[in-house]
Amino acid sequence: MPMVLLKCDKDIPEREQHIYLKVDGEDSRDFLPVSNAQTIPGTLSERGCAFCGAKLVIGGVLKDTIQMIHGPIGCAYDTWHTKRYPTDNGHFNMKYVWSTDMKESHIVYGGEKRLESSINEAFDAMPDIKRMMVYTTCPTALIGDDIKAVTRRVMSERPDVDIFTVECPGFAGVSQSKGHHVLNIGWINEKVGKVEKEITSEYTMNFIGDFNIQGDTQLLQEYWDKLGIQVIAHFTGNGAYDDLRSMHQAQLNVVNCARSSGYIANELKKQYGIPRLDVDSWGFNYMAEGIRKICAFFGIEERGEALIAEEYAKWKPKLDWYKERLQGTRMAIWTGGPRLWHWTKSVEDDLGVQVVAMSSKFGHQEDFEKVIARGQSGTYYIDDGNELEFFEIIDLVKPDVIFTGPRVGELVKKLHIPYVNGHGYHNGPYMGFEGFVNLARDMYNAINNPLLKLAATDIRSDEKVNAEEVAA
């Protein structure tokens, strides 16, 4: 019973192993959805590719690094208009896009010369920028371009630059998760330990796995500044290339997104003995708990309590205003993976919202262990959901609002169900105390937006539609 074969999946019965319904009285440890597995032929996956996981999730966030995409121009599509990771230096990472723009002749005769000239051209055009990441893509991996050899040659000719290569073509894994993995492991093995940063506090940490979505990192940085904790490196929100080469200097690794970035935290513990502390940065209760744990680690508990009291005084009344109005809201979360387990209890505890369905694009079984432990009974937990499944699940659980990405968001909008961008946010940041009020506001506004009712009205009749009546 807990593993569910939806009606729409009758011709691809393997999907049953990917959809779990938590039921009272069942031992949830007897079931765990198959995940991080190859998408089943016949299902229209919402997943991204491995290159996407490396470049668009992690590398592209850096504020001082050229992101050279060695491939056709189409691989460079997602930039400022789909990604929302600003920086404090004028959003360099979102203003420019770099591609070797591979054409048929380069595929036939090899693209290494073109890559080399593109790297030099980019550095020449931006003389203040001395750091670069180079990504291979499907075609350049298939033809065997040796991008490491090219970057070594460029670095020998330009001793003031440093280049990191990410050999993770789109086909390399089952989802974007493979790209996270390749970048994490490549970085720790090739770049960490290469730069010594000035230490300005007796308390130092890395903050791992947040990507400054609409300012998340910058909001949390205010907390760390108030606590007197020096963040050696942000992996990678508002992050700098050389800071990430200094990660070995931190006393503590604080991990938010364990899925995209747990690898480097594990390796930092294994190779440098730096402890890994996992926290939830979304939600009042969770954020306070995370601050308390960090402060307890450093022995500065009183600073943490003062900060939490200050933030609660400022933001809790606003949160409570929304909680009163959102109580009982039925929410679906269809995002990448970790936000399922970060959000399900925080929206329940802090806002009175019930999460009735969750779908993960690239979560592993570890993520499903977490979310099933935290989530409610009667809730569906889906791995690699497809569009027909989303339609059926919507009929089954009737959500009031769905947090998901723009792809599924378009589907949801056509059904006139309120949708909030669960990846890039509507009006973030969403992390921290202030951020969770923003999330609550966006949820409230989405649910009460009169446009949805107007959009559902058939205006083809001759009778004039009274917009106010429809929206009421």
Binding site: L32, L252, V279, Q365
Partner: protein
């Protein structure tokens, strides 16, 4: 499993990310360290806080024990011996749930 252990397991399952680390040895290390710190706190002893890992376990255990006391008032009435028995029961359950019976196929991979 006693009713008291069951209540604590329910809390840990819902609340604590350290039980879900990537590999079985990480989970074992966390369970061992955090339970030892929690036992010390509940028994009136001073938890170790010297090495980086001890500081980490202290931080995690501190929040957990504080929540135990808030959610389960009977915790304050435990004798040191009862606290030791209780934490031993919780530890056994956590090892069973997070490691022994876990269906997560990645737990035993040798690499991260």
């Amino acid at each position: 499993m006693s009713e008291q252990v069951k209540q604590l397991v329910g809390y840990v399952q819902e609340r604590c990310l350290w039980q879900f680390f990537s590999r079985s040895w990480d989970r074992q290390e966390n369970i061992d360290g955090i339970m030892a710190a929690a036992e010390a706190m509940l028994s009136g002893a001073k938890p170790k806080r010297e090495t980086p890992m001890e500081k980490l376990f202290y931080a995690d255990a501190l929040e957990m024990v504080k929540d135990f006391r808030e959610r389960f008032p009977w915790v304050d009435a435990l004798t040191p011996a009862e606290a030791t028995t209780l934490i031993a029961g919780l530890k056994a359950e956590m090892i069973d749930l997070a490691i022994t019976r876990s269906l997560n196929h990645e737990l035993s991979h040798s690499l991260y």
